[in-house]
C-alpha cells in the first residue's frame, strides 16, 4: 500500500496542479510546499517499508506473472531515500527562486518525482520502460524550461539521444519477451538462463546500450554537459544529483538480476565504459572555462566511478557504488547550487570572471571548498571513503586497471577544482569599474539555498567518519547483498 502511494501521491499532485491553476490563477508557495511534503513523506514511508520489511504490492490483485508487481527491497529503499532528499532540496531551491508562478514547472516536477519512484519500485520490465518515458519527457522539458536557445538546443539533443536510448530499451524488452514470454523481472531471472546464446547477446547489448545512453556515460555522453549546464540552477542540481542516480539504479537492477548468472561479459563492458568515463570526463572538464560545464563533465567522470563499482559484480562493489551515488548526490547538488548562485551574483559563468568571492561570500566559498575537497577525494571526507571502497572492491574482483584509472582521475580532478577555488579566492582585479551593475545590484537573500548547501557540506563531513562505525558498515553491506542476491529477490516476488 505504501509502495503504491509513493507513486500515486506525486502523480495526483501533478494532475491537480492545472485544476488549481484554473481555479485560482496563481498557486501559493504553501500549496506547492504541502504537495511536495506529502509526496516526499510518501516516498520516505515506502523506503521505510522496503528497508525493514521488504514488500511486494500486487496491482489489481493479480499474480506477479499476469499483472504488475511493485517490489520494495533494501536497494530500492536506499535509492528512494536518495531521491527524496535530493528532490526535496531541489524543490525548496525552486520555490525560493521562482515562487509559485510557473505552475507548469511544478506539474512537471511532480510528474518526474512520481515516475522516479515508479522506476525505483517497479518489478516489471515493460512498466520500467513506461515510467522511464514519463521521467525522460519531464526531464527534456525541465532542461528547456528557461527557454533560452541554449536550453532549447540542449533539450532537443537530449530528446533525440534519449529517445534512441528508449527505443533500444524497448527493443531489448521486446527480445526478452519473445524469448521467454514473461516480463516480470523475478521470473525473467529464472527464464533467461535457458535461452539461446545469440539472443542473450542481443538482449544484453540492447538493454546495456539503452541504459548507458540514458545514464550519460562516456562514449554517448554528448547530451549530458549541454543539458546540465544550460538548465537553471535548481534544475541542474536535480538533473545531476538525482536523475542520473535513477538511471544508475535501473542499470544496476537490470544487470544484476538478468545477467549476473548468465552473461559475465556485460560486467566487463560496464567496467570498461566506466573507466573511459572517468578519464574522458576528467580530461574534458579540465578544458572547460564555464563553471557549470566543468561541473557537468565532472558528473560524467563520477558516473564512471559508480559504473566501475557496479562492474565488479560483487556485493562489496554494489555497496560501494550505492555509497558513491549517495555522496555524489550530496556533493554535486551542493556544488551546482553554489556555482549557480555565485555566478548569478557576478553575472558571468566564466571561471576567470568569478574572482573576489572570498571577500563578499565567505560562507558560500567555504562550503564550495568542503564539497569540492570531498569530490576530489581528500581523505577525511566521504568522497574519499566511497572511492576507497570502489578501489578495494575492484581490486577484489581481480583487475588493477580501474584502480589506476581512479587514482589518475583523482589527480586530474584536483587540478581543475583547485583552479576554480583559486579563482574564487583571488582578489577582484579592478573589475568593479567595467562592471557597473555590480554596485547597484543588491545581493539577494538565498537563505534556504544556503541552508541546504551548508547541511550537505556538514553531511559530507559526517559521512566521511561514519564508515568507521560497524553498524553503518553493516547497513551498507546489506544493500550490496540485496543487490546481488537474485535468489532472495525471486523468492520475495514469487513467494517461494
Amino acid at each position: 500500500m505504501t509502495l503504491v502511494l509513493a507513486i500515486m501521491v506525486p502523480l495526483l499532485s501533478a494532475f491537480l496542479v492545472p485544476l488549481f491553476h484554473l481555479a485560482r490563477k496563481t498557486l501559493s508557495v504553501g500549496l506547492i510546499g504541502i504537495m511536495g511534503l506529502a509526496s516526499i513523506s510518501a516516498a520516505l514511508a515506502a523506503a521505510h517499508t522496503g528497508w525493514y520489511s521488504p514488500a511486494v504490492s500486487l496491482l489489481g490483485g493479480w499474480a506477479p506473472d499476469i499483472g504488475i508487481a511493485l517490489v520494495g527491497d533494501r536497494l530500492s529503499s536506499a535509492f528512494l531515500l536518495m531521491t527524496a532528499i535530493g528532490s526535496g532540496a531541489a524543490l525548496a531551491c525552486a520555490l525560493e527562486k521562482f515562487g509559485g508562478g510557473p505552475w507548469r514547472f511544478y506539474a512537471l516536477f511532480f510528474l518526474m518525482l512520481g515516475s522516479m519512484n515508479g522506476i525505483l519500485l517497479t518489478g516489471d520490465l515493460f512498466n520500467l520502460f513506461v515510467f522511464y518515458e514519463i521521467f525522460s519527457v519531464a526531464a527534456y522539458l525541465m532542461v528547456a524550461f528557461s527557454m533560452s536557445w541554449q536550453a532549447l538546443e540542449a533539450g532537443l539533443k537530449y530528446l533525440v539521444l534519449g529517445t534512441i536510448g528508449a527505443l533500444f530499451i524497448l527493443l531489448g524488452t521486446a527480445f526478452t519477451f519473445m524469448a521467454t514470454g514473461v516480463l516480470n523481472m523475478a521470473l525473467l531471472a529464472e527464464a533467461l538462463a535457458s535461452i539461446p546464446r545469440e539472443t542473450l547477446t542481443a538482449i544484453s547489448a540492447c538493454l546495456v546500450l539503452g541504459l548507458t545512453i540514458k545514464t550519460g556515460a562516456f562514449p554517448v555522453h554528448f547530451w549530458l554537459p549541454d543539458a546540465h549546464s544550460s538548465a537553471q540552477t535548481a534544475v541542474s542540481a536535480l538533473l545531476s544529483g538525482v536523475l542520473i542516480k535513477v538511471s544508475i539504479y535501473a542499470l544496476m537492477r537490470v544487470c544484476y538480476i538478468f545477467f549476473l548468472g548468465t552473461n559475465g561479459a556485460v560486467f566487463l563492458a560496464i567496467t570498461v565504459i566506466g573507466s573511459f568515463s572517468v578519464l574522458g570526463g576528467h580530461l574534458m572538464a579540465l578544458r572547460q572555462d564555464d563553471i557549470k560545464r566543468l561541473l557537468a563533465y565532472s558528473t560524467v567522470a563520477q558516473i564512471g566511478y559508480i559504473l566501475i563499482g557496479i562492474g565488479c559484480a560483487s556485493a562489496a562493489g554494489a555497496a560501494a557504488a550505492v555509497f558513491h551515488a549517495f555522496n555524489h548526490m550530496l556533493m554535486k547538488m551542493g556544488l551546482f547550487i553554489t556555482a549557480g548562485n555565485l555566478s548569478e551574483e557576478k553575472g558571468t559563468r566564466e571561471i576567470c570572471g568569478l574572482t573576489g568571492l572570498w571577500k563578499s561570500h565567505p560562507l558560500w566559498v567555504s562550503a564550495f571548498a568542503v564539497l569540492s575537497a570531498s569530490i576530489v577525494g581528500i581523505p577525511p571526507l566521504n568522497g574519499f571513503m566511497s572511492k576507497w571502497f570502489i578501489i578495494l572492491s575492484s581490486a577484489g574482483a581481480g583487475t588493477v586497471i580501474p584502480a589506476l584509472v581512479i587514482a589518475a582521475g583523482t589527480v586530474i580532478s584536483a587540478a581543475y577544482y583547485l583552479r576554480v577555488l583559486s579563482a574564487f579566492i583571488s582578489p577582484d582585479e579592478g573589475s568593479s569599474d567595467d562592471l557597473p551593475p555590480s554596485v547597484p545590484r543588491k545581493p539577494r537573500r538565498r537563505s534556504v539555498s544556503f541552508a541546504i548547501v551548508g547541511s550537505f557540506a556538514l553531511l559530507c563531513l559526517v559521512l566521511g567518519v561514519m564508515p568507521f562505525s560497524p553498524i553503518f558498515r553493516e547497513y551498507f553491506s546489506s544493500i550490496g547483498q540485496t543487490a546481488v542476491d537474485v535468489e532472495a529477490y525471486v523468492g520475495l516476488v514469487t513467494g517461494r
Binding site: 500500500m1 503504491v4 500515486m8 502523480l11 495526483l12 501533478a14 494532475f15 491537480l16 492545472p18 485544476l19 484554473l22 504490492s57 500486487l58 496491482l59 489489481g60 490483485g61 493479480w62 506473472d65 499476469i66 499483472g67 504488475i68 507548469r104 514547472f105 506539474a107 512537471l108 510528474l111 512520481g114 515516475s115 515508479g118 515493460f126 512498466n127 513506461v130 515510467f131 518515458e133 514519463i134 519527457v137 519531464a138 527534456y140 522539458l141 528547456a144 524550461f145 527557454m147 527493443l171 527480445f175 519473445m178 524469448a179 521467454t180 514470454g181 514473461v182 535461452i195 539461446p196 546464446r197 545469440e198 539472443t199 547477446t201 542481443a202 538482449i203 547489448a205 540492447c206
Partner: protein
Amino acid sequence: MSIKPYIFRIASLILCVSLGLMLFRGIAALPVTEKVTGPASHYLARTAGETGARNVVGAILFDYRAFDTLGESTVIFTAVCGIAMLFSRRKFHRSSRGLSFIAKRGIGIMVPFLLMYASVIILFGHLSPGGGFQGGTIFATVTVLLCVVFGSSFESQYFPPRTKDILESGGALLFSGIGLIGLAAGTGFLSNIAAGFPAGIFGSFLSAGSVPILNVAVGMKVGAGLSTIFYSMIKMLDAGHDHREGGGIE
C-alpha cells in the same frame, strides 16, 4: 576535408549493418512459436471469466496491466504540459477565414458521424477492437479538421483551451480515482471485479466492471491532450504569419 564525410558515412553504415546482423541472429536463434504459452495463455483462457470483457487486448490494457496504461497516458499529459509551456508566450490571433463554403458544409455533415464513431469506439472498447486511445485520437482529429476547415476561431470558440485542460486533468483524476477505490477496498490498486465493480452479462454493453469507465477516462485524456498539442502548434503558426505579414489576419 572532402574525404572525411565519406569515412563517417561508411563507418556508420558498417555500424548499422553489424547491429542489424546481431539483432537478426538473436531473433533467428529463437525457436518458432507454434502456440501461445506463458501468461498470455492465461489471458486467452480466463479473461471472460475474470474481467467480463470480450476484447482480450482491452482487458489487458485496462485491467491486468492497467498501471501501464496509467503511466502511458501520463506520458501524454507530460508532453502536453510541456508543449503548452514551450508555446505559452505567444499571442494567439484568431483566424476565421477557413476554406470554401462547400468544404464547410461537407464537413458540417460529416462531423456528427465522426463524433458518433469516436464515441462508439470508446464505449465499446471492451467488446470490439478500439478503446480509449483510438477514440480519443479520433476526437482530436475532428478538432483538427474543424480547425482546418472553419478557421481557428471556430475551434477555440467551441473547444476552448480551458475546457480541454479540465477534461484532461479530469480524465487523469478519474483514472486515479478508480484505482484508489480498489486500494480502499483492500484488493490492490486498480483492481476491477475484485473491488466490487459489477461484471455484468458477458458481451453486453454494461459489462466488464471498471473497464468502460477507464476507457472513457483515457479517451478524455488522450483526446483533449492531442488536441491541445495541435492547438499550441497552430498558435505558433498564426503568430508566425503575423510576424511576416504585419498582422494581416483578421
